[in-house]
Symmetry: C2
Subunit: 220 residues, 2 copies
C-alpha cells in the first residue's frame, strides 16, 4: 500500500509572527485547512536569526518565510502559496477565469513587488533614521494605486465575491501600513476589505497577535 | 461564425525599451510567437510619460509595462506573462511538475520582489546621489542568493533544461546589473545562463538595444 508522505509529515513553516510574508503563508494554510508546524525565526534577536548559516541553507535570501513541504524547502511566499494551491485540495485561492486570475495576480504583485519590498526590514535597516517616512512614502504611493484598482475589481473580496491570493496579500500589507502609522481611512475600499477579511477565522487564527512566537506584550 | 477577438486585435504593449519588466513581457511574446504592437512610454522625457493622467488610467502604479489584451489592460509583468501562458498556445513558460513550477516561481519572485523593486527608477530617484551604490548593494545581495539557488536548479536553463519564466526574469535583471556596473563574473552560473539566453532569438529580438524607442546612440 502506498501512503503519501503528505499524510505523514506536516509542512514546517520557518517564519516570524510579525513578518507580513509569513502571515500570507499562514493564511493560505488556514484557508486550505492544512495543519502545519512552526519554527520561529526571530528577525531581531541575536542580530537576526535569519542571518545564520543554518537558516541560509533554507533560504539563501536570508528572509522569512521558508516552508519545508513534500521533501523540499521553498521560499518566496507567493511561490509557496501557489505550490500549496496546485498540490492541495480545498477552497481555490485563484479564480478559474483567466482574466480574473490575472486581476488577482496584478493585485498580489502590486503588493509583493511594488510595496512590501520597499518597507522590508533589511531595506529599512539600510535607510536608517528616516525609515518611518520612507516606509510611509512607499506604502501610501502603493495604496493610492491599489485603491484605484480595487474600486474596479472588488466585490465582497478583492476580486469579486470569492476569496483569493489577493486577499491573502492585502490584510498583511494593511497590518504593515498600520505599524508605520499610515492613515488607512484615506483608502475606503482597502479599509472595508481589510475589515471583512479580519473577521474571518483563517485571518484571525493566523494573525501576528496570536502566534507561538508573539511576545506577551503584543498578544491579543 | 464566431471569430475570436484574439485573432483580430493584436496585444498592445505600453513599455520602455530599457525597462527590465517591459523586456520580460517582450520575451514572453517572442517565445510564444505572438505578434504585438508597442506604444513607447518614455520614463525620462517630459518628466516621465508614465506620470500622465492618460497613462495612470492604464496602470495606476504609473510604471511600465501595461498590456492591452483581449479587451482588458493588465499591469505587473509576471501577472501579464502568466495570463499569456494561460490563454495562448505555444511553448510552456512553466514546467508541468508542481515542484519544478515552485522553483521557477521562487526564482521569478526572488528577482521580481527581492531585487528589481529596489533598483527601480522611482526608488533611485528618491535615493538621489547615492543611487549607484544603493542599486549595486541590492543587486549583489540578490545575486549571491540567486547564484546559490541556481547552482541547485539549473540545467541548460534556470530550472532544468526547459526554458521558463525564470529565464524570462533572469536576462533582464543581468542587463540591469551591467547597467549599474556590477561585476557579473562573480556569479558564474548567472553569467553562463545569461549567455545561453542572449543567444536565443526570442531574447535578441526583444533586447533593449533594438526596440522601436531605442535611441540611436544605444542601438545595437
Amino acid at each position: 500500500m502506498h501512503v503519501s508522505l503528505r499524510c505523514l509529515v506536516k509542512p514546517l513553516l520557518h517564519g516570524y509572527f510579525r513578518s507580513s510574508c509569513s502571515w500570507r503563508v499562514r493564511i493560505a494554510f488556514a484557508l486550505k485547512g492544512i495543519d502545519y508546524d512552526q519554527v520561529p525565526v526571530n528577525l531581531i534577536k541575536d542580530g537576526g536569526q535569519q542571518l545564520t548559516d543554518q537558516y541560509k541553507e533554507l533560504n539563501p535570501m536570508q528572509q522569512v518565510p521558508a516552508v519545508t513541504i513534500d521533501g523540499v524547502t521553498l521560499s518566496q511566499s507567493l511561490a509557496i502559496i501557489q505550490y500549496i494551491e496546485e498540490t492541495r485540495p480545498g477552497p481555490a485561492l485563484l479564480p478559474a477565469d483567466p482574466q480574473k486570475r490575472a486581476k488577482v495576480r496584478m493585485i498580489c504583485d502590486l503588493i509583493a513587488s511594488g510595496i512590501q519590498p520597499l518597507q522590508n526590514l533589511y531595506v529599512l535597516q539600510k535607510i536608517g533614521e528616516d525609515k518611518v517616512s520612507w516606509a510611509q512614502h512607499f506604502i501610501i504611493r502603493g495604496f493610492v494605486a491599489l485603491e484605484s484598482l480595487l474600486k474596479e475589481t472588488a466585490g465582497k473580496y478583492c476580486v469579486g465575491d470569492e476569496i483569493s491570493m489577493a486577499d491573502i496579500c492585502l490584510a498583511p500589507q494593511v497590518y504593515n501600513a498600520e505599524r508605520f502609522k499610515v492613515d488607512v481611512d484615506q483608502f475606503p475600499t482597502i479599509k472595508r476589505l481589510n475589515q471583512t477579511l479580519l473577521a474571518l477565522e483563517a485571518f484571525s487564527t493566523s494573525h501576528p497577535s496570536c502566534q507561538p512566537d508573539t511576545p506577551a506584550d503584543l498578544r491579543a
